[in-house]
Symmetry: C2
Subunit: 342 residues, 2 copies
């Protein structure tokens, strides 16, 4: 039976949301796997006691320390060895668990995952991606890297494309995800030396059937959904991700102002304003992709699923399922095979 | 009297929009400056003949060639010496004109401006910025660079901040524009080596009173308006610019779908749907900042105002006024003084 370690202390709404999501996952998943919930006993155990967990494959493991959002990623792994984060990853390292799931400090989770689990054979640098809504009804646009690697060599960009293509194929069932290289123009030969070299490497990998490279794409192609996988360095990806996350609030404010003046001028009554507001809010559901789940930290020798701090219980549940899929479909073995050229 | 050279052939709606905008500028500007409209005589002259131009300080100059959107920027300046673009810039070089305005091929205009006009003393690399709407009622967020410089050294990022601060001060009247360095986190020490070094240079420049540096900012701070000037390399800026430009279309599509299903389910009648649509469109006016005007290519030894291909006649008019302001307020002299350390 698979064992998934879950960080009870990670996330804005932890541990309540994490406990709830874990129980949902076990119930919906038909109890086919086991969850080890890790956290501070004095906080988590009383909450667990209030839940109906009889018959569920749920164990609790005490970890006296907590990595907070304020902890410096690079040092948390060393200074907080007894945290739920580091303990959970050690369970994976020692094969007591098959995967680790957390919605805590993303930087600390990436640093600790790399430190504790190490890299898969052939992987130069593990990476993290994010997904965006897109105009095409089906699927999402996946951007890689979004902050794990600020400076990237062409070889790193190539590997990001390869790893995410493998993940999309085996875990998400997308056979030949289109890969686009984010650039300042579509034409071949655009951009910096790094981008030009990355273009050549991606084209070569496409020639070998490793990826499905469609060429350079631009910022306006992300929401259009021209590519399933958008490759860029971590500064570009992180900026686009955070810019995108700020759009609902920005437009929500513009909407309130516009609605207020429309109602004030007699252009709309209060009842219609309420209908319009509900409709407007519904439009932004597709932006709140973080609610759906997390993403795996690709390239580490183990499974470490990273969730957004705002993760709901549904997101936690989906992250646990995601971990299960990655194990069952042997995503890491496929990555190691392709990247180490075996 | 100031002379402003205007590219009649540049822009999606050229020459009609350009002619219209030029005439508006001369009329509204009280005929205080002269415009030399440059383009193909067989196309522009018949259109000009249909307008009332008596008494306006308007001259026409024939240029047999046209730089199109398909022309490769780096070669257009050499292969199309008799284009309105290159002739207009040569008028500036020979001091027959004080400024050049175009809404044509941006890349070609930047390359030709650099080639014909050269750089101001002390400037390592000229730059181009773009503006974004923001939640703060007043002002815009200005992002620099947005595509002229894909690879940037720390010194380049510093100069972009200095040049745009000077421009905002002298041309836009913003005394101490806040400068933020776009990074993956707010804390000092974040990001690549280039960003870390740029941070130190910006801090030093702030210490010398040259700029008003507020530190690192992130992608979500752009629309919030945390800084008036956002400094980043051209790949990041270009991607954010194009991503931002794609938002109205993306949300327009989501809106149509949502409105369609709300009306279909009886949640809203057709009349209210029309009011809601008008309100929604109004919200996006702030996104269409390109309509307002263009931006100067900062750091070249002359004034070259770059407009969006979609520029309206109003945008052309505002670009002509912008050129006038830059000349009157001696923006380039100030840039040269500060950047050459005089």
């Amino acid at each position: 039976m698979l064992t998934i370690a879950v960080d009870a202390m990670g996330g804005d709404n932890a541990p309540a949301c994490v406990i709830e999501g874990t129980i949902q996952a076990l119930k919906e998943g038909g109890n086919k796997f086991e969850v080890v919930l890790i956290g501070q006993a004095e906080i988590v155990e009383p909450m667990l006691a209030r839940e109906e967990t009889d018959g569920l494959n749920l164990r609790f493991l005490h970890a006296p320390e907590v990595v907070t959002m304020d902890d410096v990623p690079a040092t948390a792994v060393k200074t907080k060895q007894n945290s739920s984060l580091v303990r959970g990853l050690h369970l994976c390292k020692t094969k007591e668990a098959d995967a680790f799931v957390s919605a805590g400090n993303t930087g600390a989770q990436m640093a600790a995952s790399l430190f504790v689990l190490g890299r898969l054979p052939g992987v130069l640098r593990p990476t993290i991606y994010a997904y965006f809504p897109r105009l095409q009804e089906e699927g999402l646009t996946n951007i890689v890297d979004v902050g794990a690697n600020v400076d990237c060599k062409p070889e790193n960009l190539l590997q990001f494309a390869e790893m995410l293509s493998i993940y999309q194929k085996y875990a998400a069932g997308i056979e030949q995800p289109q890969v686009g290289l984010l650039n300042i123009g579509e034409e071949e030969g655009k951009g910096s030396d790094t981008l030009k070299q990355a273009y050549n490497l991606l084209k070569e990998a496409d020639g070998h059937g490793k990826i499905n490279f469609i060429g350079n794409i631009e910022g306006h192609d992300i929401l259009k959904g021209k590519a399933t996988i958008v490759v860029c360095d971590g500064l570009v990806g992180n900026t686009i991700l955070k810019f995108g996350e700020s759009i609902p609030e920005f437009l929500g404010t513009l909407f309130k102002r516009a609605l207020g003046s429309t109602v004030a001028s007699g252009g709309m009554d209060e009842k219609t304003a309420a209908v319009t507001t509900a409709m407007f809010k519904g439009m932004f559901k597709s932006f709140d992709v973080e609610e759906v789940g997390g993403v795996p930290f690709l390239g580490v020798d183990g499974i470490s699923i990273v969730g957004h701090g705002r993760s709901s219980s549904r997101a936690i549940k989906n992250m646990i399922f995601m971990a299960g899929h990655m194990i069952e479909r042997k995503v890491n073995q496929h990555i190691a095979e392709v990247l180490s050229g075996q």
